[in-house]
Structure formats: C-alpha cells, structure tokens
Symmetry: C2
Subunit: 200 residues, 2 copies
Amino acid sequence: MPKQVDHRERRETIARALWRVVEQRGIAHASVREVAQEAGISHGAVQHYFATREELLVFAMDFASEQTSLRVADGVRELGNPPHPRDMLRAMLTEMLPLRPDARATSRMSAAYVLEALHNANIHARARDGLAHGRDLIEQIVRQAITDGHISPDRDPATETHLLLALTGLTPLIELSVIEPQDALAAVDQHLNRLFTNKT
Amino acid sequence: MPKQVDHRERRETIARALWRVVEQRGIAHASVREVAQEAGISHGAVQHYFATREELLVFAMDFASEQTSLRVADGVRELGNPPHPRDMLRAMLTEMLPLRPDARATSRMSAAYVLEALHNANIHARARDGLAHGRDLIEQIVRQAITDGHISPDRDPATETHLLLALTGLTPLIELSVIEPQDALAAVDQHLNRLFTNKT
DNA sequence: GTTGACATATTACAGCTGACCGGTAAAAGC
DNA sequence: GCTTTTACCGGTCAGCTGTAATATGTCAAC
C-alpha cells in the first residue's frame, strides 16, 4: 500500500487556494502555477489532483456552492423552530452577498464562474443547473409561505422568486463601495417587508 | 501635413471589435492581437491608438456606457412628453439587461469590467464613479416622482434606488437561460408597479 | 528488503502574451 | 523635391501559460 492521502481534503485545500487567488488577484491570475504557489505546493502536484485547469475551476465552484449552503444552514439553525420563511430568505440572501470574508470569496468565485460559463458549454450547463436549483429552492419557500398565509396569495411565486434572486444585483454596488453593507441590508429588509404580510 | 485619420472613429472601431471578442469569446480572449484580428488590422495598429491594453479596456467601457446612455435616450424620446418616470426607469433597466444584441454586448463588457475593477485601483475608481453617477441619476428621478405624487412619500428614495439598481441582478438568470426575457420584464414591471402609485 | 502503488517534484514544450522598436508609406506644406 | 508628420506594419523580446512526460520520494504489504 502506498502513502495514503485524503484526496478530497487535498482537493479542497487547492480549491481554497484558488478562491484566495481569485478574490485577491482576479480570475485572470488564477493559473495552475499561481494557485499551486498559493497552496504551497508544486504545480505538478496540482496536476496530480486536477487533470486540467477547467476541472479545478469546476470543483472549486461546486465546493463554493456547497460551503455557501453550509453557511446558510448554520444561519437558519439559529432561527426559531420552525424558522420563519422571511428569516430563511434573509439568511440565504445575506450569504450570497459579499458582506463577510467567506461570502465575498465565494461571491467573487461565482461571478467569475458565470462569466466563464458564457463561453464554455460544460460550465454553462453546470452553472445553469446550479442556479436553477437555487431558484427552485427559493420558489418552494415562497409557495409554502403563501400556503401558510405569510405571503399574499395575490403574489405570483415565480415572479417573486425572480425578484428575490435579483437582489444579488446589489453585489456590484457593494463591491465598488457605491453603497455600504448596511444600505444593502436595508434594501433586502425593505423588499422582504413588502413581500410578507405583517400578520404572523 | 501627414495622412489624416479620424482618431476617435478609429478608436471606436477597435473598441467595438473588443466588444465582439468579449461577447463571443470572453474577456480572457480579449488580447491586443485578437482584438486587432477582429478589427481587421495589425496589432501594431492597435498599439498606435492605445498605448496599453488597459487603456483600450477603459476606453471600450466608457464607450459602452456612452452607447447605453444613447440607447436609453432613444427609448425615452419615444415616450410621452413629459415622459412618465415609471416609463423612464423601465427604459433604463431594459437597456441595462442583456435583452437585445447591443445591450448584451455592453452588459457583458460591463460585467468583465467590474471584475477587473476589483483588482485594479484605476479601473476601480472609474467603475465606481460611473456606477455612482448612474445611481444619482436614478435617485433624482425617484425623488422627483415622489414630489410629483407618482411615488408614495413613505418610500425612502435611496433604498428604492438601490432596489431598482438591484434589478440588474436578473442578468445572470437571463444569460444562463434560467429565465426567459419575458420573465425578466415581468419582474421589472411588477417591481415598478408596486413602486408607483396607480393614480396618474 | 524487495516490490508495487501511489504521491510529489522536475523538466520540457509549444504557444500565446503585452510591450517595444525600427522601418516604411503616404500626404501635405514649403 | 525636400522635409515633416502621421499611420501602420512586422518582428522581437522576456515572460507566462496549460499540459505532458519523466523522475524521484514514500510507505505498506509481502
């Protein structure tokens, strides 16, 4: 038996190095060599774990989505039981906006990934599926909230879902310091306040 | 006197070539050589008009903003006189979303520019100023609409402006075909309908 | 202690990059 | 016809790229 290494853990370490490079120096600098240097290993070692650069990008993005989901789950766990849908949506949105270091890293990773998706069929399909899945999750919450009387039945679940996802459009405003984080949170809260009835 | 060429026009031609490369092949492929080839000139000629690649990027983005403003102005001109603020905002937002070829080109250019801005102080300052200026324009329209009774005085102009700008967050949904253009327009119209009082 | 399997490192390669520079062509004033 | 100015070309340079091939290191089982 050879020396054994936790393959998955190694890949995650490299993926995190990629995040840091993307966050600090931009996707253009995220070469195999620079990621290797950031991870403190040789670029040949990176090749051992990822056959191609694209494979690395895809894994790093999947991992970023996963970590974002975990952060959301953590946030939701601190809510009441059962959690109010308004608070669940707020937790999701605040973790998607670049308001804290972890969220900023994954947000920038995500932005670069979407841009890459526009010219790479494989990545396009993956990004699309991922986003569509997130959309479905939110729409389900919205529909349940309507059923439970938290949201007016006049509202169209699909349109409301799109408007909630659109709130990630605050990202460039935050990243370029056009608005402050509290302004973004105020906008999110304002939107949620109008979406939900003030009954329960 | 030497051979005379319309300098500005040449630069715009090259900038449009850059747009096409960015739209069709991505910012990563937007090298001086590839842009030159797209424009049908030598890479030396591009250097004659732009000392550095960065200078080319900056010019192309300024030009994109300018052209977007012109498209908005065209759209507003077709509205009543005076145009209803609701229709003005709708024209602005629909020209910022990638719903038509021109708008898609400038939208992708803009997305790449924002990503670049995060790691380049010069571009950051320019992108920030440009976005802040757009924000101010919209906020002015919102404030005037409140004064004129088109929007409830309960609304906070700044927050409403941020929520309007956030609607550009529909862009990834459209680009990745998660929603259809008409879904995006429905969301925009829904948001505007709730923002404006239904009086005039 | 040899073997086998895998981890890691080294090196090589062909290609593209941005920046730079010398040369040339053309046009207009003198 | 000569000079000056501008427009543009094509080559060169050092440096970086992704990927592949190869070599060395490591350790458990036999």
